[in-house]
Amino acid sequence: MKRKLPLFITFTVGIILIISEFIPHKPFGQLSGELEIWFLIISGFAILLGQLSLFKVNILKIQFKQRDWQFYIITLLSFITMVTIGFLWGTGKSPGILGHGESISSVMGYKPFDYLFFNVYQHLQATMFSLLAFFIASAAYRAFIGRTLESNLLLIAAVLVMLGNTSLGVFLTSWLPNSLSFLHLPNVSEFIMTYPTTAGQRAIMIGAGLGIIGSSLRIILGIERSYLGGE
């Protein structure tokens, strides 16, 4: 029963949703949207599980004084601080249990939650995102080392696209006559991005789409049961 009931629900809901894609008549037309709302409601309850997991894992690491255990205290303190001040004074236009906290807001410029969000959280987020610049440089270096025919082609295409997007690219090929305008670096760059790149991406998308159809059918028909922990 533990296995059969989820399989039955999956099959029924899967088939109804496929059919509803082609039937606009009520109630089929609204089913997909309705089920998305159900999913959000269940997710809302599941958030509690996530928070409990976060607490349990971090408390255990502090309790057993695992390596760098002090950092886990910071995680928990940050979590508790944000939740507490969010509950007390709210966030944005939503009031907390103590109202909007006007007196604190007048000093800080924002509500305490929003103050920490804009002045701490957003900067930490931006810091992580900015790491991408360095990682792209190191990854590009490895990708562009000409070892094989493919990596050489990648290198040439990348140089053309990069030059085509700079003023240097315009300058380098500006002397070419209009009859050879297709060789202007900005045009070459646009050509590479519009045709070969788009074609490659669409091929991946078509393959992925077929993969999704295949996987969905396997799950709906109960052939694929790994997501339930079975074979």
Binding site: I23, Q51, L132, G211, G229, E231
Partner: protein, 368 residues
């Protein structure tokens, strides 16, 4: 005299007939009866602007739109119910605000049982589904199917073995989207095989997740895998844990785990966005053997560069079937290949027709 009256009658009839066409209302096709399409053509009266109103149940007219366009159309989908008759009134004004025309039109809404716009989708989806089902049943009857090798999946044993030899953990990331994304489910199906291998080899598995729904599913999957491997005692419920829903907070957490724990094998299988390269490069710098898989075309180049093995698009979805070696599941992969063949044929014919100036196929396949 009779002729004069006859001519006058014909003129009036023609005039009235022509005036009737100013506001046309029709039911929106292929919908659930919750919208009407209003179109107006005032070229004959050339107004400065027009106002269209809808009659309420108590007989009043409520403004729907005001327009200065001579011709146009508008979809009214506010508070419209199926199988009801709705009356609209168009009032045309001249430059000094005088009414130069006023007329009413009505239409009945109706809900359709089939969306004709999606007939091409239905045909293609049916063809692919039938092909997949045919190959599944062929496989069931014992027909041998050839499936090409997928390097990233072949290396799974090697990665787990390496982790065991080095005495370091295995890190698995099921993407950053929730359970309603097929890539996450595909990633989790691979997690089951990986967890079973980890249990057999007695390797430590770390699965940090960023969605609560994924947390409960992943926990159940890993637990079942350990039981299947006959090692329920080795299962650590805290090996699958939640970090945060925030994209870069999650990246910071996973990067910290990679730097501190130094996993011997990293698996990034699921849906990824900007975090893909940060994770993969951190993993690369730690010297781990890395396998990634996603159907996000914009993130694939990053994984290809930074990881040892990459499952590209469909390979991610094929992984579970491929690893299970179950003929039923392998049959579905052959069905997908048939789908690809259909697409190749349609694309080739489409290119030839479009070059020839025949747009029938493109129009047929376009869903409006």
């Amino acid at each position: 005299m009779k002729k004069t009256f006859l001519c006058l009658f014909i003129f009036c009839a023609c005039f009235l007939y022509s005036q009737e066409g100013i506001l046309n209302i029709k039911d929106k096709p292929n919908d659930d009866g919750s919208a009407l399409i209003l179109s107006w053509d005032t070229t004959q009266i050339q107004p400065a602007n027009i106002i269209i109103e809808r009659e309420t149940p108590n007989g009043e007219f409520v403004k729907i739109l005001k327009s200065e366009e001579i011709t146009g159309s508008y979809e009214d989908g506010t508070n419209i119910d199926p199988k009801n008759i709705y009356t609209y009134r168009i009032t045309a004004y001249n430059n000094i605000g005088e009414i130069i025309h006023i007329s009413k039109s009505k239409a009945k809404t109706s809900a359709q049982w089939f969306d004709k716009d999606k007939i091409s989708l239905l045909i293609l989806a049916s063809l692919i589904t039938l092909a997949i089902l045919y190959y599944i049943f062929s496989a069931k009857s014992g027909k041998e199917l050839f499936i090409r090798k997928i390097g990233g999946l072949e290396s799974m044993d090697e990665s787990v073995g390496r982790a065991t030899e080095m005495g370091r953990p295995i890190l698995f990331i099921p993407g950053t989207l929730d359970l309603d994304d097929m890539q996450t489910i595909a990633g989790l199906t691979i997690l089951r095989r990986l967890a079973q291998k980890a249990a057999e080899y007695d390797s430590k598995l770390i699965v940090p997740v960023c969605r609560s729904m994924v947390l409960s599913t992943a926990k159940e999957i890993v637990k079942e895998a350990y039981m299947k491997a006959g090692r329920p005692d080795a299962y650590d419920p805290d090996s699958v844990f939640y970090l945060t829903d925030d994209q870069f907070g999650y990246v910071a957490g996973v990067d910290g785990i990679i730097v501190r724990e130094k996993p011997a094998a990293n698996f990034f299988l699921g849906a990824f966005y900007a975090e893909s390269l940060i994770l993969a490069e951190t993993g690369f710098s730690s010297g781990a053997i890395q396998t990634a898989g996603t159907a996000m075309p914009s993130q694939l180049p990053f994984f290809v560069v930074a990881c040892d093995f990459t499952l590209i698009g469909e390979e991610l979805f094929a992984a579970s079937a491929y690893l299970s070696k179950d003929p039923h599941q392998l049959g579905s992969l052959k069905g997908q290949d048939f789908g690809k063949a259909i697409f190749v044929v349609i694309l080739t014919i489409g290119i030839i027709l479009e070059i020839s100036g025949i747009h029938f196929l493109k129009d047929f396949l376009t869903i409006h």
